[in-house]
């Protein structure tokens, strides 16, 4: 086995295209999972059982089935029902939905960690329920859960190569195509491996900066 720098430079144009797609999937998937997860967490706290029960069942189902199966399902079955989206949009939706069932538990823990005294002070001041959530409880809860959410960003990054199976050409997809055309495997796979480490590292720096800003 020989390392060939020419193969690296040949691969780079494809790599940049794949990187862009990976970052898109990661950013949009994270946003979706963070917001959907919060919606689930809040719905699970409504007093009506008829809201909590279906949300509980659906999220439990999504959390306990493989993301890969969900990708196939959304990509091949939904069009039969007349719902067609681009491969990337389907992938972002699948990742966001799948991980929202994890982030909802993170939010739940964060909300439960806000001391009861905060609710009591809000009641004593007669604050409306919605205002208590948006001004008192959630700002404190979210501040607490940023590190845990950050871990899920890294997990989502590592799951983006799954999008390859629904024809999304992210980094791994491009590396694989390149390898098959040029019979050079080491260089493209190494390049994307290094890229994954760097993105993870940058993402963790970003989350830490966000954490510091929020805690201040």
């Amino acid at each position: 086995m020989k390392w060939d720098w020419n193969a690296v430079s040949d691969f780079m144009p494809d790599f940049w295209k794949g990187l862009l797609v990976t970052l898109q999937a990661l950013a949009l998937g994270s946003l979706l999972s963070f917001s959907l997860g919060l919606v689930w967490a809040l719905l699970m706290r409504t007093p009506t059982r008829w809201v909590r029960w279906p949300v509980g069942v659906v999220t439990e189902f999504v959390r306990n089935t493989p993301l890969l199966v969900q990708l196939f399902f959304l990509f091949y079955v939904l069009p039969e029902w007349g719902l067609t989206f681009s491969a990337l949009a389907t992938g972002v939706f699948a990742i966001g939905l799948h991980y929202s069932t994890y982030t909802m538990q993170v939010y739940r823990a964060g909300i439960e960690a806000v001391p009861a005294g905060q609710w009591e002070a809000a009641t004593a001041l007669n604050l409306p329920r919605a205002r208590t959530w948006t001004a008192v409880i959630l700002p404190q809860a979210i501040r607490r859960v940023v590190p845990a959410l950050g871990n899920y960003v890294i997990s989502m990054l590592k799951d983006t190569p799954l999008l390859m199976v629904i024809t999304v050409l992210e980094m791994l997809g491009h590396a694989r195509l390149f390898s098959q055309e040029h019979f050079q495997f080491t260089e493209p796979l190494t390049v994307i491996g290094v890229a994954f480490i760097l993105i993870s590292y940058l993402a963790s720096l970003l989350m830490r900066a966000l954490e510091r800003r929020l805690v201040r």
């Binding site: 001391p115 005294g117 905060q118 009591e120 002070a121 009641t123 004593a124 001041l125 007669n126 604050l127 409306p128 205002r131 001004a135 008192v136 700002p139 404190q140 501040r143």
Partner: protein, 265 residues
């Protein structure tokens, strides 16, 4: 304290005068249980407007539960509670909100909102609940912070303050809602000993210079003696003795009261 402090009430028909000579707070047959433990046992008492009532007694005798019932933080299992003639239990949510406007509470653990500045702790509810403009609310908040001696801490986060300062902010926050009734739940119990006096002096000032009705759970007997019009001695969920502070602290009728007071003094 001069007569034009921010605490002095404007002449306003909705305050004490409406029930002059009557009762502002009334508890009838109030029973509260936690599991098999009865913390309040068929309790009856009432408070006249402007009076300062101190609740004393051993831990677990139900004193704090009364304040929590009045603040609607918990519900009685039996009995009725009325404030200013309006029932608090049972009552629809909308009416509970109306009644709650008349009541403010200061907690043992301060419970300031750590995500807001000191100033916003004081303006949040006046703006959102009373409908004050931001400027009005801030003016009111600054006056109150001045009153509690923390005018320079407007922009600080509560966690940057000492316990005594936090509790004074919490008192100012409760007063910013201009309540008719102020509930004080062991407000100095969580403070370092050297910070207690400052908070108690502030409360003495407020008791002297305003017509706010006060219900106060405390273990500070000197303070209780100073500010109270009436002292209620609790034991096992019942009021076993009630009277003027001179009577309760000087010559109590019940042996249990005598024991308790000699134990805490």
């Amino acid at each position: 304290m001069s007569a034009d402090t921010p605490l002095t009430k404007e002449p306003d028909a909705s305050t004490g005068t409406a029930v002059a000579g009557g009762e502002l707070i009334r508890l009838e047959g109030v029973t509260k249980r936690f599991g098999t433990n009865t913390v309040l046992d068929d309790l009856n008492f009432s408070v006249e407007p402007g009076k300062h009532v101190t609740l004393i007694g051993p831990s677990g005798s139900g004193k704090t539960t009364i304040l929590r019932l009045l603040m609607t933080l918990t519900k009685p299992d039996e009995g009725t509670i009325t404030v200013d003639g309006q029932p608090l239990f049972p009552a629809p949510e909308k009416q509970v909100r109306e009644v709650r406007k008349k009541i403010g509470m200061v907690f043992q653990q301060f419970n300031l909102f750590p995500n807001m500045s000191v100033l916003r702790n004081l303006t949040e509810a006046p703006v959102r609940v009373l409908g004050l403009s931001k400027d009005e609310a801030e003016a009111r908040a600054r006056e109150l912070l001045d009153l509690v001696g923390l005018a320079d801490k407007c922009d600080a986060k509560p966690t940057r303050l000492s316990g005594g300062q936090q509790q004074r902010v919490a008192i100012a926050r409760a007063l910013a809602m201009r309540p008719q009734v102020l509930l004080l739940d062991e407000v100095t119990s969580a403070l370092d000993p050297e910070l207690v006096a400052g908070v108690l002096d502030l409360l003495r000032d407020i008791a002297r210079s305003t017509d706010i009705t006060m219900l106060c759970v405390t273990h500070e007997m000197g303070f209780a003696r100073d500010i109270s019009d009436q002292v209620l001695m609790f034991d096992a969920g019942r009021v076993i003795e009630a009277g003027a502070p001179e009577k309760i602290f000087g010559d109590p009728e019940q042996e249990r009261t005598r024991e308790f007071i000699s134990a805490v003094l």
